[in-house]
Amino acid sequence: SQTIHQWPATLVQPVGSPLSLECTVEGTSNPNLYWYRQAAGRGLQLLFYSVGIGQISSEVPQNLSASRPQDRQFILSSKKLLLSDSGFYLCAWVRSSSYNSPLHFGNGTRLTVT
């Protein structure tokens, strides 16, 4: 079966510090991968998605970047965090070969920028 892992689960970082959140998927190959952010009291916003190694599409302009160095690894980064980067970050995957396969989410990372 397929599983998705995100770490760390929680993170407190000072303004101006770098960020690296990691997501890996097991049990499938060539998934489409996504980073969503959930700000307090708001819905989920798609930040980035990737259909393959090295292929990243950004949905919103922001202080963050994403990379996909391996087929099942998706990384969210920032060189200098802003207070507004605080939120709950969710990684998700979908089977690229099946048009009616649902989107599966990881357990998320709670990021607090102080």
Partner: protein
């Protein structure tokens, strides 16, 4: 562009009572529709999905949802709520095209469900 509206930010029901969470979407064609549930501090779990066919879809944990094209709605229902159903519920819409556009879901703002004993 697609959009999703969940009119109720917070709903409180008594345990054993019936539940209906509202969801309205805006999309130019028949979309893919989903309901997800999120417990505090956790990721999202898929409750049910609609792609095509029967407009009444059954999901996990006793939930069901009905797609009504004429009303652009996809309301979530449960006949008898359990205390463990307390969580936040998200409706989402996705474009029914293959490849990259599938996982680019648009989510509603969520409805927080509180269950009283």
């Amino acid at each position: 562009a697609q959009s999703v509206t969940q009119p109720d930010i917070h709903i409180t029901v008594s345990e054993g009572a019936s539940l209906e969470l509202r969801c309205n979407y805006s999309y130019g064609a028949t979309p893919y529709l989903f309901w997800y549930v999120q417990s505090p501090g956790q990721g999202l779990q898929l409750l049910l999905k609609y792609f095509s066919g029967d407009t009444l879809v059954q999901g996990i944990k006793g939930f069901e949802a009905e797609f009504k094209r004429s009303q652009s709605s996809f309301n979530l229902r449960k006949p008898s709520v359990h205390w463990s159903d307390a969580a936040e519920y998200f409706c989402a819409v996705g474009a029914p095209a293959g490849g990259t556009s599938y996982g680019k879901l648009t989510f509603g703002q969520g409805t927080i469900l509180t269950v009283h004993p």
